[in-house]
């Protein structure tokens, strides 16, 4: 279920503003682009590349907010503002949590897209 993962009011408003067909395409675009952002986060963490890490988290945050993926947005924001250090200290746990939340978001968006 999408409840809790996607804020439906935000998602409906997006559809009302941009059109349902367009939003379907936009969801597809997000689902195609997001895995690369997650890869970017993992690589940046491995390479200790703070700029790349911040940019990828920033991008994911921005898109999450667009679709109403509030929890994912909040987690991405933590990574963007907190930087590499807390993630390194926690042995990558926040990134794992974010990856799991993204999987939920992807499922919800796919459902909502079909609805």
């Amino acid at each position: 279920m999408s409840e809790g993962t996607i804020d439906l009011a935000t998602f409906e408003e997006l559809k009302a503003n941009a059109g349902a067909d367009f939003v379907r395409e936009l969801v597809d675009t997000f689902l195609a682009e997001a895995p690369a952002m997650l890869d970017d986060l993992r690589h940046a963490l491995a390479m200790n590349d703070a700029d790349r890490f911040r940019r990828a988290a920033h991008s994911l945050k921005s898109n999450s907010h667009t679709f109403g993926a509030l929890a994912l947005g909040a987690m991405a924001r933590e990574l963007e503002l907190g930087g590499l250090r807390p993630v390194q200290d926690a042995d990558g746990a926040p990134l794992e949590a974010l990856t799991l939340e993204y999987a939920r978001v992807a499922r919800s968006l796919t459902e909502l897209k079909r609805a």
Binding site: N17, E25, L26, E33, R55, H58, S59, S62, H65, T66
Partner: protein, 348 residues
């Protein structure tokens, strides 16, 4: 280019994130605008230099060239610095907003952008652009390109600076009987043609016409932009003016219309150039002894019965291949010392 109203403007959306780019473009297209997109600042600058846009929507966090760097480039680019920029970013922190505004952005919208707010801000940005374009067009029409550029670069402030240059005065001989001999419309026609020819000759040699009074004009060579060969340029312009008048007279004679003769005086040296008048109404001009002398030399063309008279300082600045007649020293009204006057031979 965008003209009147706020629909159908040409907008450029710059964002490295595809979802953001598509969504913003979609919102703007639904509002009736034409949208082009770029995925980073470098690509955006290339596009801005290649085609005209009415407004830029700029993301900040981007690879290759970020939004701050784009704003810095725009502010230093004479062609692009008036382009309204609305920053759309999900970057947090008031310092980022302040930095964008300080770098010349019109507005800062947080992503995801509310379409209603977006429409209002775009409308305001385009209205500013329209007013700026209108203002530039007015300046272009009523000022010379050099003065327009000077205004754009340095801004307007009353007051002058000392420059070295040459001043030219020119007017039509026996203009009053000419005016009385024909209908006023014919005189206006004749003046318009005359000014077109004179402006071409003067600007073609790097001078600017700073003043038009009736049938007379004043031109400056060497201000507001410095001109290395200002003496030579002024004299070359004068020779071309005489030549153009001769050609004009051939046409006039063929049409059974009156012919005209002009007298030109040129003096060179230091002068004070700048904007004079009031904050409400001002003009770019030069003042000083050099200007007075050029005016006296022009008046003296009638007495000496020559077309172009120059002073010693102008002669000293010539590059040597201009034929002159020395008319000897002349004492002008208001001058304590006699001035060496030279006549420029025509047809060189």
């Amino acid at each position: 280019m965008h003209k009147g109203g706020h629909g159908g403007a040409r907008l450029l959306v710059v964002d490295d994130n595809k979802v953001n780019r598509l969504l913003l473009a979609r919102n703007l297209e639904l509002q009736g605008h034409h949208v082009a997109t770029a995925e980073n600042g470098r690509v955006a600058l290339e596009m801005l230099r290649g085609e005209a846009f009415d407004l830029l929507l700029l993301d900040i966090e981007m690879p290759e060239m970020n939004g701050f760097q784009v704003l810095e480039k725009l502010v230093n680019d004479l062609q692009l610095r008036d382009l309204p920029v609305i920053v759309t970013s999900s970057l947090e922190g008031l310092d980022n907003v302040v930095r964008c505004i300080e770098l010349g952005a019109e507005d800062y919208l947080t992503k995801p952008v509310n379409p209603v707010l977006l429409k209002a801000r775009i409308g305001a940005g385009l209205e500013k652009k329209r007013l700026r374009d209108q203002q530039k067009e007015l300046v272009r029409r009523f000022a010379t390109p050099e003065v327009a550029q000077d205004l754009q670069e340095s801004g307007f402030s009353l007051g002058g600076k000392r420059v070295r240059g040459s001043v030219m005065f020119s007017d039509i001989r026996d203009f009053t009987p000419l005016v009385e001999s024909q209908p006023p419309e014919a005189t206006i026609d004749l003046l318009n043609t005359y000014y077109t020819l004179m402006f071409n000759a003067i600007s073609g040699h790097g001078g600017i016409v700073s003043l038009i009074i009736g049938d007379g004009l004043m031109a400056i060579f060497g201000a507001p932009l410095p001109l290395t060969d200002h003496c030579d340029s002024a004299v070359r312009a004068a020779l071309e003016m005489i030549e153009l008048i001769q050609l004009f007279n051939v046409d006039q004679a063929a049409a059974g219309k009156p012919q005209i003769r002009i007298g030109i005086g040129i003096a060179s040296g230091e002068m004070v150039a700048g904007y004079t008048g009031t904050n409400e109404r001002a003009t770019y001009t030069c003042i000083g002894d050099t200007v007075n002398l050029a005016s006296r030399l022009e008046v003296h063309t009638k007495i000496a019965d020559r077309s172009i008279l120059i002073d010693g300082a102008t002669r000293a600045g010539l590059r040597g291949d201009v034929e002159l007649d020395a008319l000897g020293p002349v004492t002008f009204r208001g001058k304590s010392q006699p001035i060496d006057v030279f006549s420029v031979k025509l047809g060189q």
